[in-house]
Amino acid sequence: MARPLFALVCALLTVIVAHNPAGASPEGNTLLQRAVVADDATSYTGTLTSVVYTSDRAESTVVNIDHLAPSQWRIWYVAPADAYGRLIVSNETVTYQYEPSANKVYANNWSASALALGDALDTERVEKNYAAQVGAETSVAGRSAHILTMTSKHSGTLVERLWIDDQTNLILRREIYHADGTIASKMSFDNVRTVKTLPKELFNLSIPARMTLVPGATYATKAASDVEATSALTFTVVRPKFLPEGFALAHESLGTHDAVQTLQIVYDDGLRDFSLFENATGRIPKFDNGAPHPIAVGDQDGFYSEAGNETIVSWNAGGLNLTLVGDLPAKELSAIGASLKP
């Protein structure tokens, strides 16, 4: 009598484990969904520190941030030194950058580039690629929170941890990890206070006396389809035959910079992403962040460097310059590049 019962229990356990690989937690996924949109419903004021790490240095921003839900932002930079005093006021459609050192207000119409913030989380893709586990209770900036751990279902590596406010679901702290387990970046509130409202004048998009409104930098426009992006190209587009597990095409855009037509193809797995840039210059770009390192990309000689928490790999092939930018190791970007055959 005991053996059939034991077999039944084992079978049930097998079904449960098979249905829930790598310990994925439904409550973890629900918590992530709530956290991503939490600032649509919660106004707050606080100080936020962000740090990005490369192999030999760290770069940091410190901002005082006021947020009036759902979409008003006022961000004042305390660090780094080159941004000290910079003020950004945004309604997520228009962003004004007040630069006192130049007496200028730069206007960025980011919505024209389809860069709207707060895109819905691709829940299906995140659940397919990541196990979300709710961890221990802790506190950040004096607020009680729970840690949400995101682990890749493909590699088993820790990719991201989020400290989520118990009361509001705001992300109070986030750490993102490199594939080798080292920390890639983190952001954390030093202090934060949720408020019912904030004075609307804080978020006025106005031009102070003695300051001039000028257009800011423009960015490539997201194409409605890959056909739209590639139909105007003067060269033949190439696409990678290899992608890291879980990654898929997200969108494409076409831009022109210094009279160079450049196609950008973005791939993501729900949390991480990388871009492939293609242009017909056949020239390696100038590396702005120090001397690049050599790296083989298939049969081609390429170069790579780190910029913030992104890795940049560039090489020439078939008359094209091909450049990959993403939060993946150089070796993984090189493997993607090797599958491109112009």
């Binding site: 990005v52 921003t61 901002v63 941030i65 932002w73 961000i75 780094p80 080159d82 941004a83 910079r86 950004i88 962003t95 730069y106 960025n108 980011w110 580039s113 860069l115 913030l117 895109d119 986030r174 594939a179 080798d180 387990g181 080292t182 970046s185 952001m187 000028v214 257009p215 930098a217 423009t218 960015y219 490539a220 210094d258 160079v260 450049t262 950008q264 973005v266 993501d268 992403d273 871009s275 242009n279 210059t281 770009p285 100038k286 590396f287 702005d288 962040n289 001397a291 690049p292 390192h293 050599p294 790296i295 000689d301 910029a307 913030g308 940049i312 560039s314 310059n321 930018v325 150089a330």
Partner: protein
């Protein structure tokens, strides 16, 4: 501190992410508990193994190799003699002679198609990547805004 308290904190302890009090508590417990010390050693070994697996191979200083390869790939500027020789190539010289005989040409225009292609910069690629991915759930708004607004000083008015 118990083993149940200590185990979830070992990863943070290894990465020096704990506050001073918790850090000291983990340190003390590790030196009192062989099982947790073993878990700590395994965490260290895993980190080292991963670092070793992903470490770039370095036979020469990378800056030296990069410099050599950049020099190899740099566009060579043709010498004056080479440019003159190209200018006098028959397919150019014959039409030019015709033009001179007619007496209609006094200015020779530089053929812009021989100019090297513009060289982009990695900052351009980085900013375009940040711009197109700032709606990602992993994006850090303060950092992304810093990267993008830092480009505004160089921005040219639209033509």
């Amino acid at each position: 501190m118990t083993c149940t308290d200590c185990r979830p904190l070992i990863v943070d302890y290894v990465h020096r992410q704990l506050d001073d009090v918790t850090d000291a508590g983990v340190y003390t417990h590790l030196h009192e508990c062989a099982a947790c010390m073993q878990a700590h050693r395994e965490e260290l070994a895993l980190g080292e193994a991963l670092r070793a697996a992903f470490a770039p191979e370095r036979a020469l200083p990378t800056s030296v190799i990069a410099g050599v390869r950049m020099a190899m790939h740099a566009d060579e500027q043709p010498s004056f003699v080479a440019r003159l020789r190209a200018f006098l190539r028959p397919q150019l010289a014959v039409p030019l002679a015709v033009v001179v005989m007619i007496g209609g040409a006094s200015v020779v225009r530089y053929d812009h198609t021989s100019a090297p292609a513009p060289q982009l910069s990695t900052n351009y690629f980085l900013r375009e990547h940040v711009a197109q991915t700032m709606s990602s759930p992993s994006s850090d708004r303060a950092w992304s805004d810093y990267v993008l607004t830092s480009a505004n000083a160089d921005a040219q008015p639209p033509r």
